[in-house]
């Protein structure tokens, strides 16, 4: 194996990556499929996920017209699960974006400027890290009030430290490299340096982390919604569907089990992708 540094100078080519690492391609395909489902859920759902029809309540899966059955209010479970993707995936997307942008800015400033700003910003990050992730998310949602939007913000804040640290580490590493010193002495502005050199070098570690933290974000969103702190009724949301379904385990267990399976598959897809990408992009971690 050729010894490659911890950082590759050129950004990865995703297509080539998928060709060389079939696991990456498979995991990426699964993730894309989930996004696709979220996008076309209104088109492929057999029913309105919110339509109540008491006459059709508690239908078992494989009932005519209701492939996954119906819940206590006669709402179509299939439609609700498909629509649930529209709650979970955007939350993951926004939360990761919040974490990445805020953490990225902190990391860039901290690593680039060093000195006092580095010290202060890193203590702030340490303080965020001092909270167990879910406790921090719950505390923030408790403060801001329950709801999907606040859950997104809370999960995003929880994700800040990992990006701040990651990006700071890469920036510090880059500062040591000769080409950065060279570009700098040629009079490149900090912004130019960041856009031209820092960001391309960050792509690989960030892509891996984004995928892993999307998995965490979906899990956290489901947890918050399960506790009643995330999506509010009547929004179809997987975590919340499990919560209400848990009351019917005796006779209608699928009301909890089907959305649970949906969450598990989704989180698994992102974790799997992150894992596969890490193996593919980081030669140090190959076992």
């Amino acid at each position: 194996m050729t010894a490659e540094g911890p950082i590759r100078r050129t950004p990865i080519r995703l297509l080539a990556l998928g060709r060389d690492y079939p696991r990456v391609a498979a995991a990426a395909a699964l993730v894309l499929l989930l996004f696709l489902i979220a996008a076309v859920a209104p088109l492929i759902s057999p029913h309105d996920p919110l339509a109540i029809s008491p006459d059709d309540s508690y239908l078992r899966p494989l009932s005519p017209g209701h492939p996954l059955g119906t819940d206590d209010l006669g709402r179509d479970l299939m439609s609700r699960v498909l629509w649930g993707a529209r709650a979970s995936l955007p939350v993951a997307f926004v939360a990761v974006a919040v974490g990445l942008v805020a953490g990225g800015i902190i990391g860039l400033i901290s690593g680039y400027a060093g000195g006092l700003s580095d010290l202060l910003l890193m203590r702030f990050v340490d303080a965020l890290l001092a909270f167990p992730g879910l406790i921090l998310a719950i505390a923030i949602v408790a403060a801001l009030g329950p709801g999907l939007r606040n859950a997104m913000i809370a999960i995003g804040i929880v994700a800040i430290p990992v990006y701040a640290r990651l990006i700071r580490a890469v920036v510090l590493q880059l500062k040591q490299l000769e080409f950065v010193t060279a570009t700098r002495s040629l009079g490149a502005t900090p912004l130019r340096l960041i856009v031209g050199h820092v960001i391309p070098n960050l792509l690989n570690p960030v892509i891996v982390q984004v995928s892993l933290s999307a998995g965490f974000a979906i899990l956290a969103e489901a947890t918050l919604s399960f506790l009643g702190l995330g999506a509010q009724l009547p929004t179809p949301d997987w975590g919340q569907m499990i919560n209400s379904g848990a009351g019917f385990l005796n006779n209608d267990p699928w009301l909890a089990i089907i959305p649970g399976a949906a969450i598990s598959v989704t989180v698994f897809s992102f974790n799997w992708l992150g894992d596969a990408l890490r193996d593919a992009l980081d030669p140090r971690l190959r076992g």
Partner: protein
């Protein structure tokens, strides 16, 4: 060693300060006036002002913080807004159940993770390794509340082997206590199992590549001796870190599991308090969670040095 501990404690101070500020602000960022919750029907401006004065809410924010911090330092976390019970007492009543559950979950995760992770590392690519990989990916992907619900459905609703929730004190009936703890401990421990197994496996693989393993084999040590005596002690050093953090994070995991299994611990208290808008209790629990996590971090570092003779704290 003592100086190292002192230095670490000193470094913890600014972080601890920021944590208290954060937790303090939590209550003040909260929309809604606690006075309104306290007063219920009688919402005359005089009554509200009176409550504000009682709670010190009429003072500037930083003064309120200093007063609050002073109280915390004396172990006074305030009183519950709904039950008027001291928050410290409320938490202390619920904490044993949480700790019991957390330790049971940790125990479960370790007795599965360490042997399976070791076998997976030694026999890479074997069926055991594939099972281990499956658990390690699945365990962190399946939400623990969902695992709890599936366990309830299979083992308690369908097979009636275990109760589906509730708590019996060990002092009252040890057998019932254990019967009640099995399902929540498995549900709570599964994520830990996955993480610990992954750690054990990768750490073991790394250790097995070391020269001293070859030395041990050149001495004529059997595979079992090489793995369990020469490799395992080295391989478990990083696992201790992660386990220490898991101990520090017991309250976090408990929030959801206790809700699923109606387990009367701190986690469920936290969720109840959020819905009751009982922010002093929430604040107390968040503070406790953060500090136990920080202390666990510190302890892990110290234990690490004790386990690995190469590290010296000079």
């Amino acid at each position: 060693m003592t100086t190292y501990v002192l230095r670490r404690l000193l470094l913890m101070l600014p972080v601890a300060f920021l944590v208290t500020v954060g937790v303090f602000l939590l209550i003040h960022l909260t929309p809604g006036d606690p006075a309104l919750i306290l007063l219920g029907e009688d919402r005359s401006p005089q009554a509200i002002a009176q409550i504000h004065q009682q709670l010190g809410l009429d003072k500037p924010l930083y003064v309120q913080y200093v007063i609050w911090l002073g109280r915390i330092a004396h172990g006074d976390l305030g009183r519950s807004i709904t039950t008027h019970q001291p928050v410290g007492t409320a938490i202390a009543e619920r904490l044993p159940a949480t700790v019991e559950l957390g330790l049971a979950a940790l125990f479960w995760s370790l007795i599965v993770a360490i042997p399976l992770g070791t076998i997976a590392a030694v026999r890479r690519g074997s069926i055991a390794d594939q099972i281990a990989t499956g658990i390690s990916v699945g365990g962190v992907s399946i939400p623990n509340f969902f695992i709890g619900i599936v366990l309830i459905f299979v083992l308690s609703v369908t097979w009636r082997l275990f109760p589906f929730g509730g708590y019996v004190a060990f002092t009252k009936d040890p057998f019932e206590n254990l019967r009640h703890i099995v399902l929540p401990a498995i549900a709570l421990g599964t994520a830990g199992t996955a993480i610990n197994m992954r750690f054990t496996r990768s750490s073991m693989i790394e250790v097995l590549n070391n020269d001293y393993i070859r030395t041990a084999m050149a001495k004529g040590a059997s595979w079992r001796r090489v793995v369990f005596i020469h490799a395992l002690k080295n391989a478990l050093i990083p696992v201790v870190t992660i386990v220490g953090l898991q101990i520090g994070g017991i309250i976090e995991g408990a929030v959801v599991t206790e809700t699923v299994f109606t387990w009367p611990g701190v986690g469920r208290l936290a969720v109840e308090s959020i819905f009751n808008r009982d922010y002093t209790v929430v604040q107390g629990i968040v503070l406790l969670a953060a500090f136990s996590y920080m202390v666990a971090n510190l302890l892990v570092d110290l234990v690490y040095g004790w386990l690995d003779p190469r590290i010296s704290y000079s």
